[in-house]
């Protein structure tokens, strides 16, 4: 159970969102919506333990989630608005290196995001949508991590890519995983609770 109570976050000394409360059970999904600047990215960073909490509480199974930041980091996988890829490495090298750092199976991740055909391509020559797929393959590496945090995951993805992401997310939720995603576009998340942040 992942829970936020009256959470407020700041960025650059300014409160960007306030009074955010939600409770997420295993298998559930939360969709963050709201206009530009409403604090969706800041909220996701706070949930990831990267942002600064101004007020309120973040609980994991009833315990303060960020008391042990390493433990919290170990239970989440994050896909931010940046792809965090190195242009000089190939797709397969990228995922193999990441698998050695965070765990998981690089070959399964390649297969799950339908990246086998691109495995030997350097990231430098990929299109924006292909890069996004590589970034999303990180989620499959983090399949054992219960909490997935996604910032605009479908940006630059084609229709087939969105469908693939939908299958990956559905499999994660079927295993009892949780998903928190922000998006302006329709996301393949059935039965997600919507949390609308005001600007």
């Amino acid at each position: 159970m992942f829970e936020a109570r009256e959470l407020a976050g700041e960025r650059g000394g300014r409160i960007v969102f306030a009074a955010v409360s939600f409770a997420l059970a295993p298998g559930a999904a939360l969709l963050l919506t709201g206009p530009n600047g409403a604090g969706k990215t800041s909220l996701l960073r706070v949930l990831a333990g990267l942002g600064r909490i101004a007020d309120g509480m973040l609980l994991w199974d009833g315990q303060p989630a960020l008391e042990d930041r390493i433990a919290h980091a170990s239970r989440l996988a994050l896909v931010g608005h940046q792809d965090a890829l190195k242009p000089a490495l190939t797709v397969a090298e990228t995922l193999h290196h990441e698998a050695r750092i965070i765990g998981g199976d690089a070959v399964a991740a390649l297969a799950a995001l339908e990246l086998e055909g691109l495995a030997d391509h350097p990231v430098r020559i990929l299109s924006a949508g292909q890069r996004r797929r590589v970034a999303l393959a990180r989620l499959v590496l983090g399949a054992a991590r219960p909490l997935w945090l996604l910032d605009e995951p479908t940006v630059a993805l084609d229709v087939a890519g969105v469908a693939t992401l939908g299958r990956v997310l559905a499999a994660h939720r079927a295993r009892g995983g949780m998903v928190v995603a922000s998006s302006h576009l329709a996301l393949p998340l059935d039965g997600a609770t919507e949390l609308r942040l005001a600007a």
């Binding site: 990267l50 290196h97 750092i101």
Partner: protein, 221 residues
């Protein structure tokens, strides 16, 4: 622990792919050493007299070159966020980055150091001491440099700020490192100087990654 080694391995793979950065540091070092005979004149005695200090300063400056991209590149492209949520302790991330910097930049400089020393007429029997002292001194610089790079992350003109922050802290290593080489040229005992360098390294080894780790977390906020 194995995750930290995996991070070092990833960074070394990247350094191999972008080998130009390493070559640039080595070329800068050799060029800086090679400029001094033009500046102070070709008198072999004068060159041998200043060689220990010149080689040391040139090596420190060359090792500084890639520091601002060491963490800056990861900060800009989002890799740092990924590392911070990987479950690695921030201090372990910093230690791995320092190790990668030492292996990718300082180690090649150690191989180039004898060439720089020969250009400056440093007696050949002082070269083993030079390499041993540089090995430890560049280790100190990698650690301090990583802490400096973490502190200047996100700062405008961080690349200019970084040497201003790190070089003064490297002065003790420079003093004992150059003194060790000078002692070797005069057939004096070198061990006290090397022991001081080892002590500096032993102090920087736990402290710099802890400071850098705290700064990394701050930079993410």
């Amino acid at each position: 622990m194995s995750a930290a080694f995996a991070l070092i391995r990833r960074d070394l793979a990247l350094a191999r792919r972008n080998a130009g950065d390493t070559l640039a540091a080595v070329a800068f070092f050799l060029l800086a050493c090679g400029l001094f005979p033009f500046g102070v004149g070709p008198d072999p005695n004068v060159l041998a007299r200043i060689a220990p200090g010149v080689v040391w300063v040139a090596a420190l400056l060359a090792a500084l070159l890639p520091l601002d991209r060491l963490l800056g590149a990861d900060h800009d492209d989002g890799t740092l966020d990924q590392l911070l949520v990987s479950g690695l302790h921030p201090a372990a991330i910093a230690a791995a980055k320092a190790a990668a910097h030492w292996l990718a930049t300082a180690l090649p400089l150690l191989f180039a150091a004898p060439a720089g020393a020969v250009m400056l007429n440093l007696p050949a029997d002082a070269i083993p001491t030079l390499v041993a002292a540089l090995a430890m001194g560049t280790g100190v610089l990698s650690l301090l440099g990583t802490a400096g790079a973490a502190l200047t992350l996100g700062a405008r003109r961080g690349g200019v700020l970084l040497p201003l922050l790190v070089l003064p802290l490297a002065i003790p290593a420079l003093i004992f490192g150059a003194a060790a080489v000078e002692a070797a040229t005069l057939d004096l005992p070198v061990r006290p100087h090397l022991a001081m360098l080892a002590a500096l390294l032993a102090a920087a080894l736990p402290l710099a990654p802890l400071a850098a780790g705290a700064a990394l977390r701050g930079a993410a906020e």
